[in-house]
Symmetry: C2
Subunit: 212 residues, 2 copies
DNA sequence: TAGATTGTTAATCGATTAACAATC
DNA sequence: TAGATTGTTAATCGATTAACAATC
């Protein structure tokens, strides 16, 4: 296991995992690349190649052991090795992310949120603390936080980003619709909804054109 | 303009647009591919090829006219040609999406939301109506809604998807962390946060490995 | 004119798919 | 054994980048 993996394959892994977990393991202990691929709309060869990078393989004529596959993918993605994160921006999106229970299963633990608006500070519905931004540096360093999630309006995103970097954050997950500049060595992942929407709306236009 | 475009290029277009709009047009009426690329971390040849697909070109030694570029990208992406959408699921994420002002600039207009919980129905903070699900078919057909946004928990996503399809929806934007099956001809775009997180967390692991 | 910048054609690179050997 | 399924090597495909001609 643990060969090289392409970024596309990496992004497919959570989908395999999602599907495998949704299956009842009692009924079917094994699954073939063909079955898995058909369920998700991928080719079987691609599935095999993807799985080869993370598991130590299936058995000819039998397929892959689903339970092992789940463990292997989770371990490859680091889901069993939780990273602590802070979130900045306790608006609607920020609170939605703060309350989302699913992140823990993905190895992400949001320990607290920050907001510049004192009115928003206190204990969130999720039970997590929303703190003033000037507490960020201390908390991040003390708890050795690795990941910062930005959920503030575009106009404030760069300055929030700078503060996160100054607080020793190693990776930033940016939900603000703006380009951020980070120092070399700091990882930046943008969540670009406009890009998804561009694909969706282009497909829609294309569909209409074809139907005419 | 309007040559063929790769899906990757298509997804970069909103980033160019974002950047161009953030610039003050009074100061600099023109921009070179190099400047634009440097700002966003892309190569200049890539920028030129991307822009060639949507605009009718820049001028040697001058660059591209920023205002024209903005118009060309917006028109290519259909931002000037708003599509109506409905949203299903008025939980935290659903409400965040419902309140997000930015979608209109992307040519997406959420006309109403639906939720199976009668308690959530009524007028949202955003001013938009949250209606019971049994009103969906009628509203979607009457208003010729093209896009359905799914923001319900994974367990309910497929049944919501089926209802949307039955209501004549042409494209689905799925925020639920589950695979959906749609009939041929219906467009499906999944927003997979777990995939982004996989990339982020793999980069983080890689970074740690290198620092050792 | 000279030089900066565009736009296109060709080369490279990476990811997917096909072919086929290995094996349970 | 025969056949299903895996895993790998080679071929194809698509996207990026390099080279260079065109032009303001």
């Amino acid at each position: 296991m643990s060969k090289s993996i392409s970024i596309q394959a990496l992004q497919r892994l959570p989908l395999y995992l999602q599907y495998l977990k949704s299956m009842s393991l009692e009924k079917e202990t094994n699954i073939s690349a063909k079955t898995l691929g058909n369920a998700l709309g991928f080719g079987e060869i691609q599935v095999r190649k993807d799985l080869a990078a993370v598991s130590d393989g299936g058995k000819p004529k039998v397929g892959y052991c689903s339970a092992d596959l789940i463990k292997d993918i989770e371990s490859f993605l680091g889901y069993d090795n939780v990273s602590d994160a802070v979130l900045v921006g306790a608006g609607k999106l920020g609170k939605a992310l703060l309350s989302y229970e699913g992140f823990n299963a993905y190895g992400l633990n949001i320990v607290a949120a920050f907001d510049s608006d004192a009115e928003k500070c206190g204990t969130d519905e999720s039970g997590k603390q929303i703190l003033p931004i000037d507490k960020m540096d201390n908390l991040c360093r003390r708890m050795k936080i690795e990941i910062g999630i930005i959920a503030v309006p575009a106009a404030q995103a760069q300055s929030v980003c700078d503060i996160l970097v100054q607080s020793g954050i190693e990776a930033i997950w940016n939900f603000a619709p703006t380009h951020l500049t980070v120092p070399q060595g700091v990882i930046l992942k943008n969540e670009i909804m406009a890009a998804s929407l561009a694909v969706l709306s282009k497909s829609l236009t294309e569909r209409k054109r074809q139907l005419q």
